[in-house]
Symmetry: C2
Subunit: 228 residues, 2 copies
DNA sequence: AGCAATAAGATCGTATACGATTTCAAATAC
DNA sequence: GTATTTGAAATCGTATACGATCTTATTGCT
Protein backbone atom coordinates (compact mmCIF):
# COMPACT_ATOMS: atom_id res chain seq x y z
CA UNK A 1 0.00 0.00 0.00
CA UNK A 2 1.50 3.24 1.18
CA UNK A 3 4.96 3.16 -0.31
CA UNK A 4 6.31 5.07 2.63
CA UNK A 5 5.91 4.49 6.31
CA UNK A 6 4.02 6.84 8.54
CA UNK A 7 7.12 7.93 10.35
CA UNK A 8 8.52 8.83 6.96
CA UNK A 9 5.42 10.87 6.17
CA UNK A 10 5.70 12.63 9.49
CA UNK A 11 9.36 13.31 8.90
CA UNK A 12 8.68 14.83 5.51
CA UNK A 13 5.87 17.00 6.74
CA UNK A 14 7.76 18.43 9.68
CA UNK A 15 10.89 18.79 7.65
CA UNK A 16 9.09 20.66 4.88
CA UNK A 17 7.49 22.97 7.38
CA UNK A 18 10.83 23.76 8.95
CA UNK A 19 12.36 24.29 5.53
CA UNK A 20 9.54 26.54 4.42
CA UNK A 21 9.71 28.58 7.57
CA UNK A 22 6.19 27.65 8.64
CA UNK A 23 7.73 26.22 11.80
CA UNK A 24 10.06 28.99 12.91
CA UNK A 25 13.02 28.42 15.25
CA UNK A 26 11.74 27.90 18.77
CA UNK A 27 8.40 26.50 17.65
CA UNK A 28 7.43 23.69 19.97
CA UNK A 29 6.77 20.37 18.32
CA UNK A 30 4.14 18.66 20.44
CA UNK A 31 3.51 15.06 19.54
CA UNK A 32 -0.23 14.74 19.99
CA UNK A 33 -1.45 17.60 17.77
CA UNK A 34 0.90 16.65 14.96
CA UNK A 35 -0.19 13.04 15.19
CA UNK A 36 -3.83 14.09 15.15
CA UNK A 37 -3.31 16.26 12.11
CA UNK A 38 -1.66 13.41 10.25
CA UNK A 39 -4.26 10.94 11.50
CA UNK A 40 -1.72 8.65 13.05
CA UNK A 41 -0.58 7.76 16.54
CA UNK A 42 2.20 9.62 18.29
CA UNK A 43 4.70 6.81 17.84
CA UNK A 44 5.68 7.53 14.22
CA UNK A 45 5.69 11.25 14.91
CA UNK A 46 8.00 10.70 17.81
CA UNK A 47 10.35 8.74 15.62
CA UNK A 48 10.34 11.47 13.00
CA UNK A 49 11.21 14.07 15.60
CA UNK A 50 14.07 12.03 16.96
CA UNK A 51 15.39 11.75 13.45
CA UNK A 52 15.20 15.49 13.00
CA UNK A 53 17.01 15.81 16.29
CA UNK A 54 19.84 13.65 15.00
CA UNK A 55 20.05 16.00 12.04
CA UNK A 56 20.14 18.90 14.47
CA UNK A 57 17.13 20.58 12.94
CA UNK A 58 15.30 20.35 16.25
CA UNK A 59 16.47 20.28 19.81
CA UNK A 60 15.04 17.88 22.30
CA UNK A 61 14.81 17.88 26.05
CA UNK A 62 13.87 14.86 28.01
CA UNK A 63 10.32 14.86 29.33
CA UNK A 64 9.88 18.33 27.96
CA UNK A 65 9.76 17.95 24.24
CA UNK A 66 11.17 19.19 21.00
CA UNK A 67 11.38 22.56 19.38
CA UNK A 68 12.76 23.80 16.11
CA UNK A 69 16.43 24.52 16.74
CA UNK A 70 17.16 28.01 17.91
CA UNK A 71 19.64 29.98 15.94
CA UNK A 72 22.44 31.74 17.71
CA UNK A 73 24.04 34.71 16.11
CA UNK A 74 27.21 32.78 15.42
CA UNK A 75 25.32 29.96 13.73
CA UNK A 76 25.31 31.65 10.35
CA UNK A 77 29.04 32.27 10.59
CA UNK A 78 29.82 28.68 11.48
CA UNK A 79 27.54 27.21 8.88
CA UNK A 80 28.96 29.36 6.12
CA UNK A 81 32.50 28.58 7.22
CA UNK A 82 31.77 24.88 7.14
CA UNK A 83 30.03 25.13 3.81
CA UNK A 84 32.97 27.06 2.39
CA UNK A 85 35.23 24.26 3.52
CA UNK A 86 33.27 21.30 2.21
CA UNK A 87 31.89 22.92 -0.91
CA UNK A 88 35.34 24.15 -1.82
CA UNK A 89 36.71 20.68 -1.41
CA UNK A 90 33.87 19.05 -3.32
CA UNK A 91 34.33 21.49 -6.19
CA UNK A 92 38.06 20.84 -6.27
CA UNK A 93 37.62 17.08 -6.20
CA UNK A 94 34.95 17.19 -8.88
CA UNK A 95 36.81 19.57 -11.17
CA UNK A 96 38.93 17.01 -13.02
CA UNK A 97 35.79 15.17 -14.09
CA UNK A 98 33.81 18.19 -15.17
CA UNK A 99 32.95 18.03 -18.87
CA UNK A 100 32.78 20.86 -21.35
CA UNK A 101 29.05 20.34 -21.46
CA UNK A 102 28.71 20.82 -17.72
CA UNK A 103 30.77 23.99 -17.93
CA UNK A 104 28.38 25.17 -20.60
CA UNK A 105 25.37 24.47 -18.43
CA UNK A 106 26.91 26.22 -15.45
CA UNK A 107 27.74 29.22 -17.58
CA UNK A 108 24.16 29.32 -18.83
CA UNK A 109 22.93 29.43 -15.25
CA UNK A 110 25.40 32.15 -14.42
CA UNK A 111 24.14 34.14 -17.39
CA UNK A 112 20.64 33.92 -16.01
CA UNK A 113 22.01 35.12 -12.69
CA UNK A 114 23.60 38.07 -14.39
CA UNK A 115 20.30 38.97 -16.00
CA UNK A 116 18.53 39.09 -12.64
CA UNK A 117 20.93 41.83 -11.58
CA UNK A 118 19.10 44.37 -13.72
CA UNK A 119 15.82 45.67 -12.42
CA UNK A 120 14.20 44.56 -9.17
CA UNK A 121 16.54 42.17 -7.44
CA UNK A 122 14.98 38.98 -6.08
CA UNK A 123 17.31 37.45 -3.46
CA UNK A 124 15.30 34.23 -3.20
CA UNK A 125 15.50 33.60 -6.92
CA UNK A 126 19.14 34.55 -7.08
CA UNK A 127 19.96 32.12 -4.28
CA UNK A 128 18.09 29.34 -6.06
CA UNK A 129 20.10 29.93 -9.22
CA UNK A 130 23.23 30.10 -7.12
CA UNK A 131 22.57 26.63 -5.81
CA UNK A 132 21.90 25.40 -9.32
CA UNK A 133 25.19 26.84 -10.52
CA UNK A 134 27.28 25.35 -7.76
CA UNK A 135 25.45 22.04 -7.93
CA UNK A 136 26.72 21.49 -11.45
CA UNK A 137 30.24 21.97 -10.17
CA UNK A 138 30.19 19.91 -7.00
CA UNK A 139 27.75 17.07 -7.73
CA UNK A 140 30.48 15.21 -9.58
CA UNK A 141 32.51 15.02 -6.37
CA UNK A 142 33.62 11.39 -6.07
CA UNK A 143 33.63 11.42 -2.29
CA UNK A 144 30.06 10.80 -1.11
CA UNK A 145 30.81 11.85 2.46
CA UNK A 146 31.97 15.28 1.44
CA UNK A 147 29.12 15.62 -1.01
CA UNK A 148 26.69 14.76 1.75
CA UNK A 149 28.19 17.44 3.95
CA UNK A 150 27.73 19.95 1.16
CA UNK A 151 24.06 19.06 0.88
CA UNK A 152 23.61 19.36 4.61
CA UNK A 153 25.30 22.73 4.54
CA UNK A 154 22.98 24.05 1.86
CA UNK A 155 19.98 22.69 3.72
CA UNK A 156 21.11 24.36 6.88
CA UNK A 157 21.58 27.64 5.04
CA UNK A 158 18.11 27.24 3.71
CA UNK A 159 16.73 26.86 7.21
CA UNK A 160 18.65 29.88 8.40
CA UNK A 161 16.86 31.53 5.52
CA UNK A 162 19.55 34.11 5.73
CA UNK A 163 19.51 34.28 1.98
CA UNK A 164 22.70 36.31 2.34
CA UNK A 165 21.95 38.30 -0.79
CA UNK A 166 18.90 39.82 0.81
CA UNK A 167 21.30 41.57 3.19
CA UNK A 168 24.01 42.38 0.73
CA UNK A 169 22.59 42.55 -2.78
CA UNK A 170 25.77 44.30 -3.87
CA UNK A 171 27.58 41.03 -3.31
CA UNK A 172 25.53 39.43 -6.08
CA UNK A 173 27.41 41.25 -8.80
CA UNK A 174 30.79 40.20 -7.47
CA UNK A 175 29.46 36.72 -7.07
CA UNK A 176 28.56 36.40 -10.73
CA UNK A 177 32.01 37.59 -11.74
CA UNK A 178 33.69 35.13 -9.41
CA UNK A 179 31.59 32.36 -10.91
CA UNK A 180 33.03 33.12 -14.31
CA UNK A 181 36.56 33.10 -12.90
CA UNK A 182 35.89 29.77 -11.25
CA UNK A 183 34.65 28.33 -14.53
CA UNK A 184 37.76 29.50 -16.29
CA UNK A 185 39.95 27.88 -13.66
CA UNK A 186 38.16 24.60 -14.18
CA UNK A 187 38.32 24.92 -17.96
CA UNK A 188 42.04 25.42 -17.96
CA UNK A 189 42.36 22.41 -15.65
CA UNK A 190 43.92 24.22 -12.74
CA UNK A 191 44.95 21.97 -9.85
CA UNK A 192 42.19 20.75 -7.54
CA UNK A 193 43.72 22.67 -4.65
CA UNK A 194 43.71 25.90 -6.63
CA UNK A 195 40.09 25.37 -7.57
CA UNK A 196 39.21 24.38 -4.03
CA UNK A 197 40.68 27.53 -2.58
CA UNK A 198 39.02 29.69 -5.22
CA UNK A 199 35.63 28.15 -4.49
CA UNK A 200 36.24 28.56 -0.78
CA UNK A 201 37.27 32.18 -1.15
CA UNK A 202 34.18 32.79 -3.24
CA UNK A 203 31.93 31.68 -0.43
CA UNK A 204 34.02 33.30 2.26
CA UNK A 205 33.64 36.52 0.30
CA UNK A 206 29.88 36.37 0.70
CA UNK A 207 30.29 35.59 4.37
CA UNK A 208 32.59 38.56 4.89
CA UNK A 209 30.17 40.85 3.08
CA UNK A 210 27.35 39.79 5.36
CA UNK A 211 29.51 40.13 8.46
CA UNK A 212 30.59 43.61 7.40
CA UNK A 213 26.94 44.50 6.92
CA UNK A 214 25.75 43.21 10.28
CA UNK A 215 28.75 44.77 11.99
CA UNK A 216 27.97 48.13 10.48
CA UNK A 217 24.32 47.93 11.42
CA UNK A 218 25.05 46.76 14.96
CA UNK A 219 22.52 44.14 14.15
CA UNK A 220 22.94 42.20 17.37
CA UNK A 221 20.25 39.63 16.99
CA UNK A 222 21.35 37.52 19.95
CA UNK A 223 19.01 34.61 19.90
CA UNK A 224 16.17 34.58 17.53
CA UNK A 225 13.27 34.80 19.92
CA UNK A 226 10.82 31.97 20.06
CA UNK A 227 7.37 32.24 18.62
CA UNK A 228 4.52 30.16 19.92
CA UNK B 1 15.42 7.86 39.10
CA UNK B 2 17.44 6.66 36.17
CA UNK B 3 19.24 9.73 34.98
CA UNK B 4 19.08 8.51 31.43
CA UNK B 5 16.19 7.21 29.42
CA UNK B 6 15.97 3.65 28.28
CA UNK B 7 16.37 4.59 24.67
CA UNK B 8 19.58 6.33 25.70
CA UNK B 9 20.74 3.19 27.48
CA UNK B 10 19.94 1.13 24.42
CA UNK B 11 21.77 3.59 22.20
CA UNK B 12 24.88 3.48 24.34
CA UNK B 13 24.92 -0.27 24.55
CA UNK B 14 24.55 -0.84 20.83
CA UNK B 15 26.94 1.96 20.04
CA UNK B 16 29.59 0.61 22.37
CA UNK B 17 29.25 -2.83 20.87
CA UNK B 18 29.68 -1.48 17.39
CA UNK B 19 32.65 0.61 18.48
CA UNK B 20 34.27 -2.31 20.23
CA UNK B 21 33.76 -4.56 17.25
CA UNK B 22 31.50 -6.95 19.14
CA UNK B 23 28.83 -6.21 16.56
CA UNK B 24 30.70 -6.56 13.30
CA UNK B 25 29.55 -4.97 10.03
CA UNK B 26 26.58 -6.91 8.69
CA UNK B 27 25.44 -8.08 12.10
CA UNK B 28 21.65 -7.97 12.22
CA UNK B 29 20.16 -5.88 14.97
CA UNK B 30 16.90 -7.56 15.87
CA UNK B 31 14.70 -5.58 18.20
CA UNK B 32 13.22 -8.26 20.41
CA UNK B 33 16.38 -9.98 21.63
CA UNK B 34 18.12 -6.70 22.35
CA UNK B 35 15.07 -5.46 24.23
CA UNK B 36 14.93 -8.68 26.21
CA UNK B 37 18.59 -8.45 27.11
CA UNK B 38 18.13 -4.91 28.36
CA UNK B 39 14.89 -5.80 30.10
CA UNK B 40 12.87 -3.18 28.26
CA UNK B 41 10.28 -3.15 25.51
CA UNK B 42 11.23 -2.87 21.88
CA UNK B 43 10.13 0.75 21.60
CA UNK B 44 13.24 2.36 23.12
CA UNK B 45 15.48 -0.07 21.29
CA UNK B 46 13.82 0.85 18.06
CA UNK B 47 14.42 4.52 18.72
CA UNK B 48 18.07 3.87 19.49
CA UNK B 49 18.50 2.00 16.24
CA UNK B 50 16.90 4.75 14.23
CA UNK B 51 19.27 7.17 15.83
CA UNK B 52 22.22 5.01 14.87
CA UNK B 53 20.78 4.90 11.39
CA UNK B 54 20.78 8.68 11.21
CA UNK B 55 24.42 8.57 12.21
CA UNK B 56 25.01 6.04 9.46
CA UNK B 57 26.42 3.45 11.81
CA UNK B 58 23.66 1.05 10.86
CA UNK B 59 21.63 0.60 7.72
CA UNK B 60 17.93 0.03 7.86
CA UNK B 61 15.47 -1.54 5.50
CA UNK B 62 11.78 -1.18 5.92
CA UNK B 63 10.03 -4.23 7.35
CA UNK B 64 13.30 -6.06 7.27
CA UNK B 65 15.40 -4.53 9.97
CA UNK B 66 18.73 -3.03 10.74
CA UNK B 67 22.25 -4.26 10.45
CA UNK B 68 25.59 -2.76 11.31
CA UNK B 69 26.67 -0.77 8.27
CA UNK B 70 28.67 -2.69 5.74
CA UNK B 71 31.97 -1.27 4.72
CA UNK B 72 32.84 -0.93 1.09
CA UNK B 73 36.43 -0.89 0.02
CA UNK B 74 36.30 2.79 -0.82
CA UNK B 75 34.90 3.68 2.58
CA UNK B 76 38.28 3.96 4.20
CA UNK B 77 39.49 6.23 1.43
CA UNK B 78 36.52 8.54 1.69
CA UNK B 79 36.56 8.70 5.45
CA UNK B 80 40.24 9.51 5.57
CA UNK B 81 39.83 12.14 2.84
CA UNK B 82 37.03 13.76 4.75
CA UNK B 83 38.92 13.60 8.01
CA UNK B 84 41.95 15.16 6.33
CA UNK B 85 39.74 17.99 5.17
CA UNK B 86 37.96 18.76 8.42
CA UNK B 87 40.79 18.00 10.79
CA UNK B 88 43.12 20.15 8.72
CA UNK B 89 40.66 23.00 8.85
CA UNK B 90 40.02 22.57 12.57
CA UNK B 91 43.73 22.57 13.27
CA UNK B 92 44.23 25.69 11.17
CA UNK B 93 41.35 27.51 12.83
CA UNK B 94 42.49 26.51 16.29
CA UNK B 95 46.15 27.35 15.73
CA UNK B 96 46.01 31.07 16.57
CA UNK B 97 44.57 30.24 19.99
CA UNK B 98 46.99 27.46 20.86
CA UNK B 99 49.04 28.33 23.92
CA UNK B 100 52.64 27.51 24.63
CA UNK B 101 51.44 25.15 27.29
CA UNK B 102 49.30 23.21 24.85
CA UNK B 103 52.23 22.97 22.47
CA UNK B 104 54.22 21.56 25.33
CA UNK B 105 51.59 18.97 26.09
CA UNK B 106 51.33 17.96 22.46
CA UNK B 107 55.08 17.64 22.23
CA UNK B 108 55.10 15.45 25.32
CA UNK B 109 52.58 13.15 23.68
CA UNK B 110 54.62 13.07 20.53
CA UNK B 111 57.67 12.12 22.56
CA UNK B 112 55.77 9.21 23.96
CA UNK B 113 54.84 8.24 20.41
CA UNK B 114 58.47 8.35 19.41
CA UNK B 115 59.35 6.05 22.28
CA UNK B 116 56.87 3.43 21.12
CA UNK B 117 58.78 3.21 17.84
CA UNK B 118 61.55 1.23 19.49
CA UNK B 119 60.85 -2.39 20.26
CA UNK B 120 57.59 -4.16 19.53
CA UNK B 121 55.28 -1.74 17.74
CA UNK B 122 51.70 -1.56 19.04
CA UNK B 123 49.47 0.03 16.37
CA UNK B 124 46.49 0.32 18.73
CA UNK B 125 48.45 2.21 21.32
CA UNK B 126 50.13 4.38 18.72
CA UNK B 127 46.76 5.33 17.25
CA UNK B 128 45.44 6.23 20.68
CA UNK B 129 48.37 8.53 21.27
CA UNK B 130 47.91 9.93 17.79
CA UNK B 131 44.38 10.94 18.65
CA UNK B 132 45.58 12.47 21.90
CA UNK B 133 48.19 14.49 20.04
CA UNK B 134 45.83 15.83 17.42
CA UNK B 135 43.11 16.47 19.95
CA UNK B 136 45.27 19.02 21.68
CA UNK B 137 45.65 20.84 18.39
CA UNK B 138 42.09 20.78 17.07
CA UNK B 139 39.92 20.91 20.19
CA UNK B 140 40.43 24.67 20.38
CA UNK B 141 38.71 25.05 17.00
CA UNK B 142 36.16 27.84 17.45
CA UNK B 143 33.75 26.40 14.90
CA UNK B 144 31.67 23.70 16.63
CA UNK B 145 30.32 22.33 13.36
CA UNK B 146 33.75 21.58 12.02
CA UNK B 147 34.87 20.22 15.37
CA UNK B 148 31.88 17.92 15.40
CA UNK B 149 32.79 16.64 11.95
CA UNK B 150 36.30 15.91 13.19
CA UNK B 151 34.93 13.86 16.06
CA UNK B 152 32.65 11.96 13.75
CA UNK B 153 35.54 11.27 11.44
CA UNK B 154 37.66 9.83 14.23
CA UNK B 155 34.74 7.73 15.43
CA UNK B 156 34.20 6.40 11.97
CA UNK B 157 37.86 5.55 11.67
CA UNK B 158 37.56 3.74 14.94
CA UNK B 159 34.67 1.66 13.62
CA UNK B 160 36.60 0.88 10.46
CA UNK B 161 39.19 -0.31 12.95
CA UNK B 162 41.62 0.12 10.15
CA UNK B 163 44.18 1.39 12.57
CA UNK B 164 46.22 2.40 9.51
CA UNK B 165 49.48 1.91 11.31
CA UNK B 166 48.83 -1.80 11.63
CA UNK B 167 49.16 -1.93 7.84
CA UNK B 168 51.99 0.49 7.44
CA UNK B 169 54.05 0.66 10.63
CA UNK B 170 56.77 2.40 8.65
CA UNK B 171 54.49 5.38 8.34
CA UNK B 172 54.59 5.85 12.11
CA UNK B 173 58.12 7.20 12.04
CA UNK B 174 57.31 9.76 9.37
CA UNK B 175 54.21 10.63 11.27
CA UNK B 176 56.10 11.54 14.42
CA UNK B 177 58.44 13.75 12.43
CA UNK B 178 55.56 15.52 10.72
CA UNK B 179 54.01 16.14 14.10
CA UNK B 180 57.09 18.03 15.17
CA UNK B 181 57.02 20.07 11.97
CA UNK B 182 53.40 20.87 12.55
CA UNK B 183 54.14 22.03 16.08
CA UNK B 184 56.87 24.29 14.81
CA UNK B 185 54.54 25.82 12.25
CA UNK B 186 52.06 26.59 14.98
CA UNK B 187 54.75 27.94 17.30
CA UNK B 188 56.01 30.37 14.72
CA UNK B 189 52.43 31.46 14.08
CA UNK B 190 52.25 30.46 10.47
CA UNK B 191 49.02 31.40 8.72
CA UNK B 192 45.97 29.22 9.41
CA UNK B 193 45.89 28.15 5.77
CA UNK B 194 49.50 27.05 5.89
CA UNK B 195 48.85 25.05 9.04
CA UNK B 196 45.64 23.65 7.61
CA UNK B 197 47.36 22.36 4.52
CA UNK B 198 50.21 20.92 6.54
CA UNK B 199 47.81 19.07 8.81
CA UNK B 200 45.88 17.88 5.80
CA UNK B 201 49.00 16.68 4.02
CA UNK B 202 50.02 14.86 7.16
CA UNK B 203 46.86 12.82 7.16
CA UNK B 204 46.83 12.40 3.40
CA UNK B 205 50.33 11.00 3.75
CA UNK B 206 49.04 8.22 5.96
CA UNK B 207 46.21 7.58 3.54
CA UNK B 208 48.60 7.35 0.60
CA UNK B 209 50.85 4.98 2.50
CA UNK B 210 47.94 2.66 3.19
CA UNK B 211 46.71 2.87 -0.40
CA UNK B 212 50.16 2.06 -1.71
CA UNK B 213 50.29 -0.92 0.62
CA UNK B 214 46.91 -2.33 -0.37
CA UNK B 215 47.67 -1.68 -4.03
CA UNK B 216 50.91 -3.58 -3.77
CA UNK B 217 49.31 -6.47 -1.99
CA UNK B 218 46.35 -6.64 -4.37
CA UNK B 219 44.34 -6.66 -1.22
CA UNK B 220 40.97 -6.47 -2.93
CA UNK B 221 38.63 -6.83 -0.02
CA UNK B 222 35.51 -5.93 -1.98
CA UNK B 223 32.80 -5.84 0.58
CA UNK B 224 33.54 -6.96 4.04
CA UNK B 225 31.46 -10.10 4.17
CA UNK B 226 28.66 -10.26 6.67
CA UNK B 227 28.96 -12.36 9.75
CA UNK B 228 25.91 -13.75 11.48
C1' DA C 1 14.47 -32.46 -10.71
C1' DG C 2 12.99 -27.89 -11.16
C1' DC C 3 9.71 -24.33 -10.54
C1' DA C 4 5.60 -22.09 -8.66
C1' DA C 5 2.20 -21.53 -5.25
C1' DT C 6 1.36 -21.53 -0.45
C1' DA C 7 1.72 -21.61 4.30
C1' DA C 8 4.36 -20.78 8.56
C1' DG C 9 7.52 -18.09 11.11
C1' DA C 10 10.10 -14.08 12.02
C1' DT C 11 10.20 -9.38 12.38
C1' DC C 12 8.72 -4.94 11.84
C1' DG C 13 5.09 -0.86 12.12
C1' DT C 14 1.77 1.44 14.65
C1' DA C 15 -2.24 1.99 17.87
C1' DT C 16 -3.61 2.27 22.40
C1' DA C 17 -2.97 2.72 27.25
C1' DC C 18 -1.08 4.38 31.31
C1' DG C 19 2.51 5.71 34.49
C1' DA C 20 6.20 9.35 35.02
C1' DT C 21 7.87 13.91 34.71
C1' DT C 22 7.58 18.62 34.07
C1' DT C 23 5.25 22.99 34.09
C1' DC C 24 2.49 26.44 35.79
C1' DA C 25 -0.75 28.57 38.47
C1' DA C 26 -3.43 28.81 42.55
C1' DA C 27 -3.43 28.42 47.40
C1' DT C 28 -1.12 28.85 51.62
C1' DA C 29 2.27 30.35 54.91
C1' DC C 30 5.27 33.76 56.64
C1' DG D 1 3.87 41.21 49.43
C1' DT D 2 6.94 37.51 48.71
C1' DA D 3 8.11 32.85 49.07
C1' DT D 4 6.79 28.08 49.43
C1' DT D 5 3.79 24.36 48.82
C1' DT D 6 0.38 21.90 46.44
C1' DG D 7 -2.20 20.15 42.81
C1' DA D 8 -3.91 19.91 38.24
C1' DA D 9 -2.86 20.01 33.34
C1' DA D 10 0.17 19.10 29.71
C1' DT D 11 3.33 16.24 27.77
C1' DC D 12 6.47 12.73 27.41
C1' DG D 13 8.31 7.60 28.05
C1' DT D 14 7.46 2.94 27.60
C1' DA D 15 4.77 -1.45 27.78
C1' DT D 16 1.72 -4.28 25.50
C1' DA D 17 -0.89 -5.86 21.65
C1' DC D 18 -1.80 -6.91 17.08
C1' DG D 19 -1.93 -6.26 12.14
C1' DA D 20 1.33 -5.84 8.09
C1' DT D 21 5.18 -7.33 5.62
C1' DC D 22 9.01 -9.92 4.51
C1' DT D 23 11.53 -14.45 4.52
C1' DT D 24 11.87 -19.13 4.22
C1' DA D 25 10.54 -23.75 4.11
C1' DT D 26 7.06 -26.84 2.33
C1' DT D 27 4.08 -28.63 -0.78
C1' DG D 28 2.31 -29.69 -5.18
C1' DC D 29 2.59 -29.45 -10.06
C1' DT D 30 4.88 -30.32 -14.53
Amino acid sequence: MGAESKSEQAYRLIRSRIDSGQYVPGYRLVLAPIAAELKMSVVPVREAIRRLEAEQLVTFERNVGAQVALIKETEYLHTMQTLALVEGSATGLAAPDITADQIKRARAVNDRMRETLTGAFDPQHFTALNLEFHSVLFEACPNPHILDLVHRGWNRMNVLRNSSFSFVPARATESVDEHEQLLQLIERRATPLEIELAARAHRTGTLDAVLAYTEEHHHHQHHMEETA
